[in-house]
Amino acid sequence: MIKKIKNRDSFDRREFIKIVATAAFSGPILLSAAYSKSNESIRTKESIHRNEQPTMTYRKLGRTGFLSSRLVFGCGAALTGGKAARLLERAFEAGINHFDVGSDIYYKGSERNLAPFLKNHRDQVWVVSKAPAIVYTKSGDSITLEQAKSAAKYWTGLMDASLKDLQTDYVDAYYLMAVDNPSLVRSEEVYNAFIKAKAAGKVGHFGLSTHKNAQKVLEAAIETGWYDLAMIGITPAGWYDWSTKSLAQDTSTLVELQGLLKRATEAGIGLVGMKTVRYLAPFWSLGKGDPSAFDKVYGEKLKSSSFSPFQRGYAYVLQHGIDVVNADMQNFKHLEENIIAAATADRYFS
């Protein structure tokens, strides 16, 4: 026999979004107002709208026309083993409409763990996956035709596997993952593999992700005119180089990179930031453990905000040419902090 020890706690439903808004401001109304102001200008006839909520801000992603939440849920690491699957619904409630995952070959099991969520929300969210087109060369080498053919075939096979694992027949975009070689970016073999997949109705848009040699990769992507999306390793202090876990050598600051980012935008490429605050993270999270590393580039208003160093980093790049940021969120605390940063970034810049 089950006995109730005490009367049910008389809590009203504390919606996650309300928590978020309350934590950031005096109340959710302010956030709703911010939403209206930030989003009205981007509502155009040709835009693609999915799951827009007053607790999030949105930005059109290049020529895709999709109004993406400025915070992208990076599912790759978070959904390995399914441990953060429960965050997906909370993220959705808060207005995140862009979910980025990766091939099983890299993020083992993540696509399969995203599938149940997609079953309920596929038409309401934008789904991107990615896979490496493996070519074993140095960043500066030109790839051979044989290597390009092999890479294209491998990438296409992984795309098919992604669709199967995601239990969907279509993803909104599929990226060449972790590209560091501009000649791969320019490979017609790989691009034709995408075109074939698009013609077959498997994918909508072509993209790439890069966090090594990223400037040259992005320049190559602009030059081709083929890419709709680029996910780039970028920080407030400039390019992030994953191979050293540091800022790229001799990198220009993000402010100095505005010209290049503008060219990408004019070429119709939606810019997704990644690894934005990894440098600040502790060693066990592959960072350098220096939370104040970017403080020198911040203005006083942002520096004196109640934001954490991670929130500041996200807010800064979102106000400096990056359309949206992809964040790996492994628990509710991360999710909550990042939503606040993405939704309120514009408050700290005049």
């Binding site: 109730k4 049910r8 706690d9 809590f11 441990k83 909370r90 099983d104 592959l286 790996d328």
Partner: protein, 311 residues
């Protein structure tokens, strides 16, 4: 002696030293004990007609990201010690590759953690190590403190055959200390779905306060229920964890109820459409999560409490 000769001699001496080190590390059953010696054994496992590209390499937590990028954080969270990596390429067609990674995770529990977190349901099980499976021509094996991944460029029968041979060879030379994994034996066996147990060192169920947690799926009639179990340092720590869980449920859900069934005390958490039910038993915190039927959630949580296999 020319400089080329000197170089050749140095390389030979280096290889000899590595071989001696490897031989000295071989246990009673011809199995490798120390992972620093693995490159030599790995090189010796090169499939016929293939060659090792460059050389077998080793990575530590400090530089694992150079090899596997962001995935390194996953292995670091489980206290990885060392990763040995080799890329084999077909001698006739060098774009064809098979990548071998051997993660020394320090303990069988940590190795089980990474293996179980990456394991996909429904793959073909193999009779290698403590647990293993094949996905296409890719092989994933847990043996003692080691987690082995073999990733192939293709899925053909030939890749499957070569991958399996390699998996067999590597598994044979790795030692299993036999140390048992607590959660596998503690979680009740009745109704437990095969190969459903997972171990999360951090952030289990997306909760930053749930560490060292096992989860498993149970079939209850037509419903699958996920149970969890975590061992704390003391009963006081376990109680504090239950309080933390309830606080999480109040923050993100609709509220909590405290219940008693005989000697079992439970906290039922209404998460808005689904229920979590949490209990404490000595230094253990356990429960069920994400169950749509509240009464089922409570019933299964009580069953789990009663059937926990404690030594």
């Amino acid at each position: 002696m020319t400089s080329a000769g000197i170089l050749e001699r140095i390389l030979k001496l280096r290889l000899l030293a590595l071989t001696v080190a490897a031989v000295m590390s071989i246990g009673t059953y011809g199995q490798i004990i120390a992972s620093p010696s693995l490159p030599v054994m790995v090189a010796g496992s090169t499939p016929k007609g293939w060659q090792i590209f460059d050389e077998a390499k080793q990575f530590t937590p400090e530089n694992l990201y150079e090899q596997i990028n962001g995935r390194a954080a996953f292995f670091q969270a489980y206290d990885m010690i060392r990763m040995t990596y080799a890329r084999f390429v077909n001698s006739d067609e060098t774009t064809q590759f098979i990548n071998l990674s051997i993660y020394d995770m320090g303990t069988p529990t940590n190795a089980f953690g990474v293996f179980s977190a990456e394991r996909s349901q429904g793959e073909s099980s193999l009779d290698l190590g403590r647990a293993s499976y094949r996905s296409g021509a890719n092989y994933f094996i847990w043996k003692g403190q080691y987690y082995i991944r073999i990733i192939s460029a293709g899925t053909s029968d030939e890749f499957q055959r070569i991958g399996m041979d390699l998996a067999q060879k590597v598994t044979d030379f790795l030692l299993d200390s036999g140390e048992h994994v607590w959660g596998l034996s503690a979680l009740p066996l009745a109704d437990r779905m095969p190969e459903s147990v997972q171990y999360f060192k951090v952030d289990a169920m997306g909760l930053d306060f749930m560490r060292n947690t096992y989860t498993a799926t149970y079939r209850k009639g037509n419903t699958m229920v996920t149970a969890f179990l975590s061992r704390q340092d003391s009963a006081e720590s376990a109680r504090a964890k239950v309080v933390r869980y309830a606080a999480y449920a109040k923050k993100y859900g609709k509220g909590t109820d405290r219940l008693r069934a005989g000697e079992v005390e439970l906290v039922s958490c209404d998460m808005g459409g689904t229920y979590d039910v949490v209990y404490q038993k000595g230094p253990l915190i356990g429960g069920v999560t994400y169950v749509e039927d509240r009464s089922l959630a409570i019933r299964v949580a009580i069953e789990m409490w009663e059937k926990l296999r404690l030594e």
